[in-house]
Symmetry: C2
Subunit: 322 residues, 2 copies
Amino acid sequence: MTVTIRDVARASGVHVSTVSRTFSAPHLVNAETRTRVLAVADDLGYRPNRAARALTTGKTHNLGLIVADIANPFFSSLIKAAQAQARLRDYHVFVADTDEDPQVEEELIQAFAKQVDGVLLCSPRLTNKTIERLGEEVPLVVVNRRVKGMPTVLMDVGRGAGLALEHLVALGHRRIALVTGPSGSWTSKEMQTAAATSEADVVFLGPNPPTALGGLSAVTDVLASGATGVLAYNDLVAIGLMEGLAERGTEVPRDLSVIGVDDIVTGRLGSPRLTTIAMPTAAAGRMAVDLLLHSVDAEGAPGVTTLETSLVVRESTGEARR
Amino acid sequence: MTVTIRDVARASGVHVSTVSRTFSAPHLVNAETRTRVLAVADDLGYRPNRAARALTTGKTHNLGLIVADIANPFFSSLIKAAQAQARLRDYHVFVADTDEDPQVEEELIQAFAKQVDGVLLCSPRLTNKTIERLGEEVPLVVVNRRVKGMPTVLMDVGRGAGLALEHLVALGHRRIALVTGPSGSWTSKEMQTAAATSEADVVFLGPNPPTALGGLSAVTDVLASGATGVLAYNDLVAIGLMEGLAERGTEVPRDLSVIGVDDIVTGRLGSPRLTTIAMPTAAAGRMAVDLLLHSVDAEGAPGVTTLETSLVVRESTGEARR
DNA sequence: TTGAAAGCGCTAACAT
DNA sequence: ATGTTAGCGCTTTCAA
């Protein structure tokens, strides 16, 4: 039923290898023959079987991309950039969502192996050890996680958190709550490290799911902490937090200052507009693809790229209430 | 370098077929042999090559899922449900984003063909004709589009739009703006059809990109239309619209009532909370997977499932200003 | 420029 | 229960 290279060969009176060449190395075949083969192929509705091709060439021209939550705008921005960059290089990107579950993450990497030429691991929840092991089955590039001997793209969120904390301190905040993210998160750890050097008195609240719901459920703790400023794990958490605060009659930034991380578009809408640490997601996506494509054919020393973050001050931060 | 079934066979002193069975039909092989083979395989770091396996079995145990915009919560909700359902059936889902570009959409379907057992096309931008043609290369299930002879999941947005319009009319609105979506969109067309039977005077404004930005840029037209009520293509558009309205000092719902479509979580946050038509995205995702899996092995009459929508009244709609 | 033949890694009858 | 053999659809030497 499915038409193969052999059918085309028979119908056009040439050998299979000629048909093969017509598709994978057209310049090696006589113009006339090529036209004829192409015509017959089109007529028969022939389509090269990419999986079979990959079996011999070892190249699928596909990339896998794994994220913890496809619904998080932070990831979708990265995904879009990665796709665009891959497209430029004649590659396709297949995305999979782990739903924050490390086991699913591992399973997906296995599923991707041999079906793609490499996979991008974004903010993985797996342990470094597991990642290293999986790296032997399929080329990996890791985003926002430091893994020994593996090509890596980092966003300097530690620096950003430092800036955010300084901003809060400058506004007179002395007690600050850090609403942390999932336990496996490198980003979360970086933020905690940055907090340790702050002049302010920082209390850690977490771990929390990295979602609006996570923020919403942290409201009570934040209120109880006595903090006048909050640095949230990400914008989603910050937005959920502000929503909960509004329900309790706590006004932002009058009663409490809130800072998020990521600079997702939702934070720029509504009121108050969110002060946040902007993450270079698009650049990271492009970078990761290039690193991966490079590591696929060139076997050199794995690169570590660190991208800068920046503080975007909007309306959710203000003078500490005294 | 990459360890194959043959290496394992040699190292464990059995034939390749025994090794094959150990992995694909363990019950057919002696317990002792199995343990030994497994041990050797583990030792050598052997991993079955899923692509090669697919070549002989014809089954990859992967599903493709194509959406226009991965960043749209409407799609991510559907994707999550589809993934969960597929997981139940021992399948993996690979997602790809077309960026609203029909040509990319076609390319991606081609890329998926032979690497997955079927693909879910969500709110496609391709023409029916093209979809039908591609359906011959790989099993397809279409969501929110009626394609002849193809398994389909529909969400009854026409009905929902009717309800929304009635709600507006009941509040005294006589002139209503319908902010339409992309031109290839079936949903958009359904809404227009529903609008045609409304008692109110409905003006069509569009096409618009189905994003917050699209809504933002429609503000001027909406204001100029003289409408007192708006039905937007989706929640994202509605949110962008409300943002733009706020900037111009137009208050919702006092000066203008706004209704969206999808019931994304962002619409439930902030103020005013969005009145919207809830779409059964999760059910659609599950349904689509089951239809696809069914059409993969059973060749029956393609089913068309229509899912109900409902109107969720929140704070963005109110009495028409007189 | 084209053909012949081997093989990518695996599975699936069919034998034994 | 295990081995033999053929072959999935394609690419790629090597010869002609």
